[in-house]
């Protein structure tokens, strides 16, 4: 049995791919609606397979992130709405997601929303009893304290500002 010849690229493939990328990239994080999965670094790649069908590749933030199945469904629906029949969404584990992949636009969006973005780069080992200095996203004071290592989601910690007395979530560096 002969293998079917690979599909030859068609002239409008580049445009289709760009449209697909835009559709997938616009999907928002279900928990943090101001962040797109592109800004989050969760969307790794969008490509056309041998049959011209769209395939989107995503990666989970934390191992047990419960939003991933929702994100996968949202990406597939966004691609269908953009006119791509039978889109495929593939989840990969490697390379491991890191907050280093979050865009500057994403970090700024978090700040405006009232969530402190990750401080510094994730590379390098954390000190066992170290403390991260986090600026308040409301008043920018550095006089903040951590109330809880784990917040409303696995990726966030709960902080309180000693200056303006507001509580806020901190997106942990990982």
């Amino acid at each position: 049995m002969t293998t079917p010849a690979p599909r030859r690229p068609e002239p409008d493939d580049a445009m289709r791919l760009a449209r697909a990328r835009a559709a997938a990239a616009s999907v928002a994080d279900p928990e943090i609606p101001v962040l797109s999965i592109e800004d989050l670094g969760v969307l790794r790649e969008v490509r056309l397979d041998g049959d011209g069908r769209v395939e989107a590749v995503i990666t989970p933030t934390y191992s047990g992130c419960p939003a991933m199945s929702m994100i996968a469904v949202d990406v597939a629906l966004a691609l269908e709405k953009a006119g791509f029949a039978e889109p495929r969404v593939v989840t990969v584990l490697s390379p491991a997601w890191t907050t280093d992949w979050m865009t500057e636009r994403g970090r700024e969006a978090l700040r405006r929303y009232g969530i402190a973005p990750p401080v510094g780069l994730a590379g390098g080992r954390r000190a066992l009893f170290g403390e991260t200095e986090v600026a308040c996203p409301h008043c920018r004071s550095a006089e903040t304290e951590r109330i809880s290592e784990f917040g409303s989601t696995a990726c966030k910690a709960l902080y309180r500002c000693r200056s303006c007395r507001e509580p806020f979530d901190y997106f942990k560096c990982i």
Partner: protein
């Protein structure tokens, strides 16, 4: 309904059944401990700790899912994560015994988490170099997550050990009870050694110095004595479990078994 699937990342030439067994051990460790932590839901000492324990459990269960999915693919008999988690019997589980012990009081839970996490951090870091790409990928994520688990547990252990007379009494009691279960962390059998030779698995015994150093540091800060005595209970890797695993699985597996084959 749009199709969504996980891309398999296989590629090692280690014997499939040995790799299956090994992956299952790690998956069972994560699921059993994750389930135990989830039992604190609605009864944790504070709201912040409620969230913390649930989030640690979530990390562990996420790791378990990825490992079960990989084990199922390696086995090649079409068993899914759910099949492996919910439809195996007690004697088929291969988790370390320390994971299946009931939560006890908060001091017991905290100390158990520290003992396990202090081992899992260097373990996952080493497994990142595994020749099996999926194990390496799971390890890369898990190492970062367990660093937070260790930090959280250690900070609590210091508060409890160096806290009130009551918290110290409970912590010392937990230490007496838990210490004989810690030795199993470093256990290796011939099958696992062969996988180490093949560049797939990690030499657990070799992690003892780093575990020891971490435990020494945290115990010193918490004012806890480092127990003497080397005997430890064993059997988990051979499916020989304590009397606690059976009832735990009965609860954990009950819903799936009441509706086999059901999907959301």
């Amino acid at each position: 309904m749009p199709r969504v699937r996980r891309r398999p990342e296989t590629g090692t030439d280690a014997m499939p059944s040995a790799l299956f067994d090994y992956t299952l051990r790690l998956a069972d460790d994560a699921l059993v401990l994750g389930h135990r932590l989830s039992e604190w839901t609605s009864r944790a000492p504070t709201l912040e700790e409620e969230m913390a324990l649930a989030n640690v459990a979530l990390d562990l269960i996420g790791q378990a899912r990825a490992l079960y999915a990989h084990a199922g693919e390696v086995e090649g008999r079409g068993r899914s994560e759910d099949d492996l988690a919910y439809f195996r019997e007690e004697g088929e589980f291969r988790n370390l015994l320390i994971a299946e012990l009931p939560n006890g009081d908060f001091a017991f839970t905290v100390l158990r988490q520290v003992l396990v996490s202090a081992f899992m951090l260097p373990f996952w870091e080493a497994l990142e170099r595994s020749r099996d790409p999926t194990l390496a990928a799971v390890a890369a994520k898990a190492a970062k997550e367990v660093a937070y688990h260790l930090r959280h547990g250690s900070e609590w252990l210091v508060r409890l050990g160096d806290g009130t007379a009551e918290s110290r009494r409970r912590t010392l009691a937990a230490l007496d009870e838990l210490w004989p279960w810690a030795g199993e962390l470093f256990e290796m059998d011939p099958a696992e050694r062969a996988l180490v030779e093949a560049g797939v698995a990690v030499d657990r015994e070799a992690l003892r110095p780093r575990w020891s150093a971490t435990i020494d540091a945290v115990f010193a800060e918490a004012g806890l004595p480092r127990p003497r005595g080397g005997w430890s209970q064993t059997g988990g890797r051979r499916g020989v479990h304590t009397e606690h695993l059976g009832p735990m699985l009965a609860v954990m597996q009950s819903l799936a078994r009441a509706h086999p084959g059901a999907t959301w």
